[in-house]
Subunit: 355 residues, 2 copies
């Protein structure tokens, strides 16, 4: 089973990326820092699709919170469909793609480079078109990913972004803060290993919800990327209609969907988003919703109808890399419980060549 | 019924905004054009939630295609949750909110203004906090919107963006193109009136799918905003689990959900996205999907299992303002067919004060 082994491989992939990827990432940061400090780089534009788009959402929070840099998520069809090349002056252009082969992502990065904007490819294939198009390449080095559903390349993409932002912070003169952040990153691999221990509980939870045909997943702040990615895994692997929301947008309409007994997954992380999620969890309880909580705090899960507890101890900004692991295991076991082979999602190909 | 009358009011709201809103919008464009031409404004940052976020998606395509300006959709929780004020140098900051009362949207615009960035509020309440926070205000002038589900303020937001981009194009020296675009906008109100004639067909379509509990809505390019907004209306009004996708992202995973007899709505617009949508419509037919097509081309609907035809004749970039109208009518009748009062979506309030 390549899916299960790729999920289990994530601690080793992370350790390798931290160890072997850091010198290249530090060098990129050193080159870019002056262009940020001078105001030449005003914002970040990221082109990505599918799972990689969820890594882009993580980048939006991390670049924003750590470097105060706004992040725009590109609409790649502007270039592929409407043949419009955006004016990318002032942008740092980043393309994120496991395969590096999505033509619209490649074209967006190539346009940035043609215009003289700094460009970075984050990819698992340093020989790909995307890597060739970009001035700088961050090689995820995750090894071949054979399962159609991306798992280890997703957490590697998040980690690459965390390393890049931390290196930029250092290069921009926030040395002490960067050292503390880097120490937190170095502590990540064993936490990922411990997160794999949620498998038995994830299998039990999957058995509990296997007969449902719709599910809502809600996250807030740094938890939003995990909500998006878990919903996508549930769809690809278990063919369950799973709808992701930020907690704020959820209150703007989709709340009307819920009713007593309706299953709703809350992605929870210790930190600044916790108080709002406490309120939402309590309100959903009053409405009789079946709350399934994925959290690093056992008390959150104890206060809900069901859930999974992943290891605590990391700062909020790193928890997206860990909180998806129980979600991956849950989605895989949900597929198995529904009699579906999670290795071969129907109708899908590993590489989708969207124009 | 305020919802039905607000839907029916859209042609009059559009005519009034074109007539009475244009002078203010033209004046804003004249002031901003020099700052765009000089490179002071490098990109647009839009803060919006819920339905207004779908207007922001429309803006992403229109600013991109017409002015080559990248658009970043803000993550308002960066400021409200993580107390991070982004560096907004180089940005034109736009806040979009019907009520003008969402604190996180107001704070994002206020931050832009404090930093000296040009700021615009697009709102239906020129006395709101959002209007006070922004340097410039575009008053939608849509009259009171009493139904919880936004309809006439959504199409007014789209139209305000179309007027602003067209005025900017003119002020930037593309006079002939702007005159042609403006003539297309002037032709909009009677097309909106004709779009209301889809109501009987929308009621029949609602009866056909009333017993379903999940639905997928797919759009591409300029059709994506309509897919998002129709899915939200189906959720708020009819409590149907409706999942929206861009056609490109849909092929990256969610395609695994479909099976013979599964209902899927395709939002179709004549123009550059049509060829890709032809391919997708044909592929879904091979998979036995029940294709429900909303299009300005009768042939698209004839080639599907069911659908709605809205009036043709407008250019693709204006069709998002029209293509949502049959969707609003469909969602309203879907609620009624499911025995739900569309005037009072449960658990929701008209104004959601997300921090």
């Amino acid at each position: 089973m390549s899916l299960r082994s790729e999920i289990a491989d994530q601690p080793a992939v992370a350790a390798r990326l931290i160890d072997q990827g850091s010198p290249a990432i530090d060098a990129i940061a050193t080159r870019l820092a002056g262009r940020i400090a001078s105001g030449e780089i005003r914002y970040v534009l990221i082109a990505a699709r599918g799972t990689s788009d969820h890594a882009a959402i993580y980048a939006q929070y991390l670049f924003g919170q750590r470097l105060r840099l706004p992040v725009a998520l590109a609409a790649p069809s502007l270039i592929s469909l409407y043949r419009t090349e955006l004016q990318l002056g002032g942008a740092l252009v980043i393309g994120i793609s496991q395969s590096g082969r999505s033509p619209d992502i490649v074209e967006t990065v190539a346009a940035g480079r043609r215009q003289g904007a700094p460009t970075i490819a984050i990819t698992n294939d340093p020989a790909s078109d995307l890597a060739a198009a970009a001035e700088d390449v961050i090689d995820l080095g995750a090894g071949p990913e054979l399962a159609v559903a991306a798992t280890k390349t997703y957490t590697a993409e998040l980690l690459a972004i965390a390393l890049l932002v931390t290196a930029l912070r250092d290069a921009l003169g926030e040395h002490a803060a960067a050292v503390a952040d880097r120490a937190a990153i170095d502590a990540l691999p064993p936490v990922l290993t411990a997160a794999l221990d949620t498998e038995a509980a994830a299998r039990d939870l999957a058995a509990r919800v296997a007969d449902r045909n719709r599910l809502i997943v809600v996250g807030r702040g740094y938890g939003y990327a995990t909500a998006r990615e878990l919903a996508l895994k549930a769809k690809e692997l278990a063919r369950l209609s799973a709808d992701p929301y930020s907690a704020a947008d959820f209150l703007h309409g989709p709340l009307a969907l819920v009713e007593p007994g309706f299953p709703l997954i809350l992605i929870r992380l210790s930190g600044d988003a916790a108080a709002d999620m406490d309120d939402l969890q309590a309100r959903l309880g009053e409405l009789g919703v079946e709350r399934i909580v994925i959290s690093d705090r056992a008390a959150d899960v104890d206060a809900a109808e069901a859930g999974l507890v992943y290891p605590r101890g990391l700062p909020e900004w790193l928890l997206p890399i860990v909180s998806i692991v129980p979600g991956q295991l849950f989605a895989m076991h949900l597929a198995i419980a529904r009699g579906i082979d999670p290795e071969e999602p129907r109708w899908l190909r590993k590489v989708t060549l969207t124009r």
